[in-house]
Symmetry: D2
Subunit: 208 residues, 4 copies
């Protein structure tokens, strides 16, 4: 397929990512303006590269014409939270919005992957306006704590290096690191109430 | 009114400007991806400052509770075009979109202001999602050529300096400059077809 | 040459453009903080594309090993001014800086090109820090008014379309547009003193 | 002191932060262009707020005229690394640069603060060009792992809430979290060689 065609296909996904990043970043701003604790700490977005799309299509035996339908993460948003409890709060916020519709959810926090991977995944439908009219696309939203994200970044690099053949001793170390992450997230959760109070107290002061 | 209150009031307008800037900038991208001439050259956005809002409210005797209703340009978008003909094209594009609704239009190009000011103004309704749900706000979109924008910038500075008392000789010079702008825009229009062809030829090349 | 090699060659030029854009944009900020009129209105930067570099090398018969030496505009900065008089002021500011050194100057305003092109060009030397140490590179700085820039943008598109064979009637129209630009810049210059006063009066107010 | 005066004082620090963020971000780019592992993961910058400066001046009994001299962190840069070992590498890179000079260093990683705080701090001298000529300012660079940064962010919020009176049970939890962070950083260090190999292998592939 020509590069020109790919650009036209990916164009609405680029727009989707740009709009969603603006919208989720603004939520952080909205909490800050109220002087309140924000369950969202950072927002990142990316559009899948052409080579990654082709690789996934080949691996999952998806014909080119079904790519937009079957590959749900061409547009990808990552929302980073401070605390495990914030993740559910973010899911609720997304659930209430009328500008996106949840298609499916996967809770890899309750059901950790065997690798140690933890995250909350949503597939949403989102509509953008193009020169040819309204287009409804899919996007994946991954919600994680800072600690989970840290682990996932490392694991992704190692996966890239070893493909399917990660040595047992590396797997073991990753697994130990995943345990340290869980311990860390638990300690953090134990002070979450204190942090939220700290941030809310701004509001009270500001309104006096 | 407290600064905290103002922040909460202006928050949806900040979001509106951010979303609209992303959306109109993306149109430029969409044309470029097709290898076609874009009627939009630049997009700028701003939220009116608190002091400008208060000044306008005072001048027009608008009570504070009616500000959001009566001051239509709290959120402001400026779209800059290369050619006069592009302005109408942009109005048509906005007209077709389903994510904004035109409330009113003013054509200061056909009906130039006595000062020499020329621009096409739209007031639109636009909906944003806040933590309290959907909020429908107003925004002003000003559409101008580069040359008109140049003149308007200069005139704005002079207006600021002299308020209602601009000396006659300055008015005269501004008026002469406005004539030069019209001559320039007309010369430019006479090569518009050539420019559009030049840019469309990219597309044809890219698709061969 | 491999893409990897090109990236390593162009890398210091990307850094040069990024640093210079920050620095010149900050000058605007510095004037604004003093409440004074800024001779710089906008700053743009770009690194020449690999295909443009190769095209220029071929046309001027420059061997690949001499590219960095002989092609002086791999890093390009464009500074846009409101008034013709501001251009000389910007040249003086650059001249006084100790972080860049002027190699050569071309005044296409006094000596307009036969096409009608007007601009002030500087070639500077600028040092950046890379992982391999200090690297001294060249950069081109083009200084123009908004009006000159407008004309140059249009002319560039037409040049691209017609290469060396621009029809006479198009040339004639461009030339007429160039005249309108000069008339406009002259009218503008006649109100420059007023504009500068207007902007300086902020400062006086702020300091009282 | 008037807001206008503060703006003029802080202006060179704003420029310093902007330039340093561009420069350190470019290092990440430079490593990526070589297909090599980057010891820098993220760069953040901020200029201290006027109220924070005044608070610090009062607490440390610094007269206003000595603020620029005695408050070393008016310009602040934070460099985030993936692994503890990267921190020393970043210090070496800074040490070799000719555009900044290290004034002093504090190693809170070898010598953890009693609170559990760990980070490597540098104070540097850095020169910027202003309209009045060259100005040499100080800036603080904090270098930390992602995990250390995570802890420091949480601790900062709690410090803000409790000032000098943090309850013992909160201190205990923070201390436990600091232990989890150290364990995590150690597990991560044990796979650092693997990650670096993974990222370097891009380069080898790209050059073949």
């Amino acid at each position: 397929m020509k590069i020109q065609m790919w650009r036209e296909i990916l164009d609405p996904y680029v727009l989707t990512v740009d709009e969603l990043v603006v919208k989720f970043n603004h939520l952080i701003e909205e909490y800050r303006n109220m002087g309140a604790y924000s369950p969202i700490e950072q927002v990142h977005g990316r559009v899948k590269t052409i080579s990654s799309i082709l690789e996934k299509a080949q691996k999952k035996e998806i014909p080119l014409k079904d790519i937009e339908d079957k590959i749900e993460d061409i547009a990808g948003i990552r929302i980073i939270c401070q605390f495990v409890e914030d993740i559910q709060k973010v899911v609720e916020i997304i659930n209430k919005r009328t500008d996106m519709e949840i298609k499916s959810e996967k809770d890899y926090i309750k059901n950790m992957k065997s690798s140690g991977y933890r995250s909350y995944h949503l597939i949403i439908y989102y509509s953008v306006q193009t020169l040819e009219g309204t287009k409804k696309v899919q996007a994946e939203i991954q919600i994680r704590t800072l600690a989970m994200n840290f682990w996932a970044t490392i694991e992704h690099s190692l996966q890239y290096k070893y493909k399917q053949n990660m040595p047992e001793h590396i797997k073991g170390r990753l697994s130990k690191a995943a345990d340290a992450i869980i311990a860390l997230d638990q300690e953090m959760s134990s002070v979450r109430g204190e942090i939220m109070d700290a941030q809310n107290s701004f509001k009270i002061k500001a309104n006096m």
